[in-house]
Amino acid sequence: MPKSPRDNDIEIKDISKNFGKFAALKDVSLSVKQGERVVVCGPSGSGKSTLIRCINGLEIHDAGSITVDGIILNHKTKSLEQIRSRVGMVFQQFNLFPHLTVLENITLGPVRAKKVTRQEADSRAMGYLERVKIPEQAHKYPGQLSGGQQQRVAIARSLCMEPKILLFDEPTSALDPEMISEVLEVMIELADTGMTLICATHEKGFARRVADTMIFMDQGRIVETAPPAKFFDSPDTDRCKTFLKQILHH
C-alpha cells in the first residue's frame, strides 16, 4: 500500500457525492493531522454526516480522493477493510446490537475481525467499559440501558477495536437533554488521549473545549475553517454568523 509522505491522518481532495440529483458534497477538501480534533457543524442537509460517512467508506465518494493513514479509499473490499480497521465510528442512533449483551456488543468486533481470544477481548472490553464509566452494565442488554448509557457502550465498542481515528456523527443529537453531558464528558476525556477525532456536533461547549479546528459546512461545501476561538467570536462568513446565532438561541 502506498504511504503518503505527509504525516496527515486523513487527506481529502476535492470529493463530491451525489444522491440521485442531490449533491451532498461538492469539491470538499480537508486535511487532518495525527491527533488533531476537528469539529464539524452546519445546518441539517449541509453534508456533514455524508463527509464523515465517506471517511470510513459507509458512502463511497463519486469524485476526488480520500487517503486515510496512507491508504487510498476506494470501493474495493481490500481498501475498505484496511480503512475500517483504522477508523472507528459512533452513530447518532447508537446502532447497538439489541440481541447481544453490552459485553458481547463490544467484543464481537475484536473476536471476529481481529481474532483476539475471547478472554483477552473480555478483559479489554471491561477496561473500556470502566473508561466510559459503566462496567456494572456489562451483562445487560442495550434495551435495558438509558440512551446516554447506550451511547457510551457504542463508544466503548468503537474503542475496543483500537482505531487510530474516531468519527462521531452527531453523537448527542438523539439523546434526552439530561444525558448529553455524561456522553460529552466521556468524549472530552477521549479527546485528551491524543486520538484523532472528527465530530459532527452542535455542542458549542464541547467544541470550544476540545476542538483544534472548527469546520462549518453549508450546502455540501466547507464554508469556513478556523480555530474555535476565532470561529465562535468572529467568523468570516455571514452564513456562519447566522447559523451560530440560531444555535445559540436554544
Partner: protein
C-alpha cells in the same frame, strides 16, 4: 386442549345418536380396534420424519435463495426472482408426482418414496421460505449493517452474528406457520405410497370400509399434532423474546 376435549365429547354424543356409526373399528378396548388404532398412529413416524426433514432443508435452501435476492447485483437478484416465481407456481401435488415419476428417468437416479417426498416438499416450501427470509432481513435497520461495517465485520460475520439472529426472531411466527403448513402438506405424499398418517388411514378404510370413523380419527391425529407443534413454536418465541428485552 380444552377445544380438543369438547370435540371428543361432541363426537361421542353424535355416535350415540346414530345407528350408522361404527366406532368398534377403533375401539381401544377391543383387540381388533386397538390394532387398528395402533396402525393408524404408526403413520406419525413418517409424517414427522418427512415434515421435519423437509422443513430443515427448505429453511436452508430458502436462506440461500433469499441472500442473492438482497444483493446489489441484478443477476443475483434475478436468480432469486426466477427461482421464487417458478417454484411457487407449481402445485405441490404436481411437484410430488413429477419428482417421483419424472426425475428418476430424467437424471438416472433412483429416488425412493421418502426422498421424492422430501425433495418435492422442500423445494416447494423453499420458495416461501426465501420470501420470508427476505422480508425478515429487509426489516432489519440499516444502522445494524453500518455498525457491523464500522467494527470491521465481513459480510459472513455480519449476517451470522448481527442480522440473521435478529431476523430469525422476527420471522419465527412465519416459520412456525410454514411448519404447520408442511405437516399438513405431507399428507399429499400419500399419493405416491408414503406410509404416513393419511396413507395408513386410506389403507384401513379399504379393508374395514368405515371411512367416517377412520377419517375422523385422522382429523384428530392432525389436530393433536398441530396443536402440540404450535404450542412448541409459541414457547420458543417467548423464550427468544425474553432474552432480548428491547
Amino acid at each position: 386442549m380444552k377445544k380438543l376435549a369438547i370435540l371428543l365429547f361432541l363426537m361421542l354424543f353424535l355416535s350415540g345418536c346414530s345407528d350408522n356409526w361404527g366406532w368398534y373399528v377403533v375401539n381401544p378396548y377391543s383387540k381388533s380396534g386397538w390394532i387398528n388404532l395402533k396402525f393408524l398412529m404408526s403413520g406419525y413416524y413418517f409424517t414427522l420424519l418427512l415434515s421435519f426433514t423437509s422443513i430443515f432443508i427448505s429453511i436452508a435452501v430458502g436462506l440461500l435463495v433469499a441472500l442473492p435476492g438482497l444483493s446489489k447485483n441484478p443477476w443475483l437478484r434475478n436468480f432469486n426472482r426466477v427461482y421464487v416465481e417458478i417454484v411457487r407456481s407449481v402445485p405441490i401435488l404436481v411437484l410430488i408426482l413429477w419428482v417421483y415419476y419424472g426425475l428418476p428417468p430424467m437424471t438416472g437416479l433412483e429416488i425412493n418414496v421418502f426422498w421424492a417426498g422430501v425433495i418435492a416438499l422442500a423445494l416447494s416450501d423453499s420458495a416461501f421460505q426465501a420470501e420470508i427470509f427476505r422480508a425478515g432481513i429487509q426489516s432489519i435497520d440499516r444502522g445494524q449493517y453500518e455498525a457491523s461495517h464500522s467494527i470491521s465485520l465481513n459480510y459472513k460475520d455480519t449476517m451470522r452474528f448481527v442480522i440473521l439472529p435478529q431476523a430469525i426472531r422476527r420471522i419465527l411466527p412465519a416459520l412456525g406457520n410454514q411448519l404447520v403448513y408442511m405437516l399438513k402438506m405431507s399428507s399429499l405424499v400419500s399419493v405416491i405410497g408414503m406410509q404416513e398418517l393419511t396413507r395408513k388411514a386410506n389403507e384401513l378404510v379399504v379393508t374395514e370400509y368405515r371411512p367416517l370413523e377412520i377419517y375422523t380419527i385422522l382429523v384428530l391425529e392432525y389436530l393433536v399434532l398441530i396443536l402440540v407443534v404450535s404450542a412448541g413454536v409459541r414457547w420458543l418465541e417467548r423464550r427468544l423474546k425474553s432474552d432480548e428485552r428491547v
